[in-house]
Symmetry: C2
Subunit: 337 residues, 2 copies
DNA sequence: TTGTATGCGTTATCAC
DNA sequence: GTGATAACGCATACAA
């Protein structure tokens, strides 16, 4: 069943049917109703493929994320799909596994599909191919929104980021308020902007409170739990181990907690812990982890809204959204000193 | 840049360029190379939209899930996207929020896009609209695979299910082996096949071991943690509370654990607990929950493979895949009797 | 082995 | 208000 058939059955031209489909004003209401009736009767749904070809753009956006196992990104995707859905857009999901090469492939593959826009948490934040392709998209009229991570050379692009610096600053200040002075941070991959910003917040808090920053208390892992486990081990093996540890993301909090559990330590007792990004289940089962929380669903929703704005108005200004964080204290920020 | 331009620049016809793009045999290798060179030089990528319109099918599949917050479903999606990606298919994600009306809308919306197939964990398992639309898809040549849940009237459809009955049977048997006789189950929404099957396994284990099945030990919630919390509360308030509880899914395990935590009880100590679906983080942080585990990633991958088989061969036989479960014992199956 | 011509299902630009 | 008809970019049957 296609538009031609409907036209024939309704005794009008395809142009008229098209007008009805697209709610064009200039159709006599009698004709409109007749067409609607025929469409309904034959359960007709216009082909988006054909429309896209003619219109030279589709109501589909691409969401590119680095890790489909991380709950943060699912929250993000949930926010994205919710706003997309509300606006009758559909979402294609791509996983890059934190691999810049894979990301390059994905961004190439997206080109063939005529997506209306791209939302991306980049893996290749310093890979010129990623930057180049994203710029090409922008220039050819396909808006791009960077979510959660900046990329090198991506200055003119829209961004939706958490206020990582402030969040980390507040967390570290809280640890200081609790009396801690030997405060460590388990950071992630240095090239990622959130990692960098979180370290900045940590440093600022220490500096403003007159606590010297010691290199041995800054452990660099990656974004994963295993490396964080090693970092925690190294920190706790120091002659003067830290009395408080700030963990750079949810996976890394888990790595640290696992080390502690295996060694009979308890967060908020032997060592103070504050993590970045909440892990709901822990609280449910009585493991009180204090965290810097941000709403990933909001971030996803905001990102999609900005994307839509650009899709609907090519002159829309570049936006830089900063989503606030919130310190949730549950007791693990305390510890024997 | 389109196929016509490439043809002109390479001094051939569009048909030849098309043949080169689609790796048709019958092209002289000299011509082929020339065309490839021009395509590369101009960074040309064919329009999937146009190809889809001409070919009357796209390399896109739709994945419809009921809850993007549940780790089970995003494990599923990870499996789906991995296999899809390997086969150069792209995945559209739809979230129905366990709402049959929403699902109906979604399934309608998918019609306009010419997807190659549909993977669905249905919300409206007894909604005739869902069944009807899925059947229409099948009949019109768009294969459908039911994942994790059967639907009423969906007998002829491909399925990828976990072996819920056996998994639950084994879990319950283990509880019996531990000496328990007052064994409860927190089940979910009765209309969902996994819920039903898990209850069956539970019942069979009791029956085979000569333990009478008592209604008061069967608590029905929904798939969410909150209702499970209430169920646990009710169970524990009985004059003869159960000494062991089998929880119907991951969210429901969490609800039960939360109740226990708030009331100073410990799994494997005051009450024996076995859950369905693993919750990795708990183990990391030293909460040993015994579970019936299944690989949701495998389920997703398998489902996508079956879908691809039908896409590539319209005569492929209907498949019913049963993914085995695995009982992981971590200590919570024990308890003082 | 290659080219020509037609169709895929829409939208949009003209006319009327 | 409505109707022809030319795009949109590609695949393919048929010719050559």
């Amino acid at each position: 069943m296609n538009i031609k058939e409907i036209a024939r059955l309704a005794g009008v031209s395809v142009a008229t049917v098209s007008r009805v489909i697209n709610n064009s004003e200039s159709v006599k209401s009698a004709t409109r109703e007749r067409v609607h009736a025929v469409m309904k009767e034959h359960n007709y749904i216009p082909s988006a493929t054909a429309r896209d070809l003619s219109f030279q753009r589709s109501a589909v956006v691409a969401a590119v994320v680095p890790d489909l196992k991380n709950p943060f990104f699912y929250g993000l995707i949930e926010g994205i799909t919710r706003v997309a859905d509300k606006n009758h857009y559909q979402v294609l999901i791509f996983n890059t596994n934190e691999d810049a090469d894979k990301e390059y492939e994905v961004l190439q593959a997206i080109r063939e599909r005529n997506v209306a826009g791209i939302l991306i948490t980049a893996a290749g934040v310093r890979d010129e191919r990623t930057t180049m392709l994203l710029k090409e998209y922008q220039q050819s009229g396909t808006p791009v929104v960077l979510v959660d991570r900046y990329i090198e050379g991506g200055e003119g692009m829209d961004t939706v980021m958490a206020d990582n610096e402030t969040g980390s600053y507040e967390a570290t200040c809280e640890l200081i308020r609790q009396g801690h002075e030997r405060i460590a941070i388990i950071a992630g991959e240095k090239t990622l902007s959130p990692v960098y910003e979180r370290e900045l917040g940590y440093r600022r808090a220490l500096a403003e409170n007159g606590i010297s920053i010691r290199k041995k208390y800054i452990a660099y892992g990656n974004q994963m739990a295993d490396r964080s486990y090693s970092c925690m081990k190294k920190l706790m093996s120091l002659s003067k181990p830290p009395t408080a540890v700030f963990c750079g993301n949810n996976q890394m909090s888990l790595g640290a907690l696992r080390y502690m559990f295996e060694n009979g330590m308890r967060a908020g007792d032997n060592v103070a812990i504050i993590g970045f990004d909440d892990i709901d289940v822990l609280n449910d089962v009585g493991i009180p982890l204090s965290v810097v929380d941000r709403s990933e669903k909001d971030m996803g929703g905001k990102a999609m809204e900005i994307l839509l704005r650009h899709i609907n108005d090519s002159d829309a200004e570049v936006a830089h959204i900063s989503v606030p964080t919130r310190l949730i204290l549950r007791g693990s920020e305390k510890a024997k000193l």
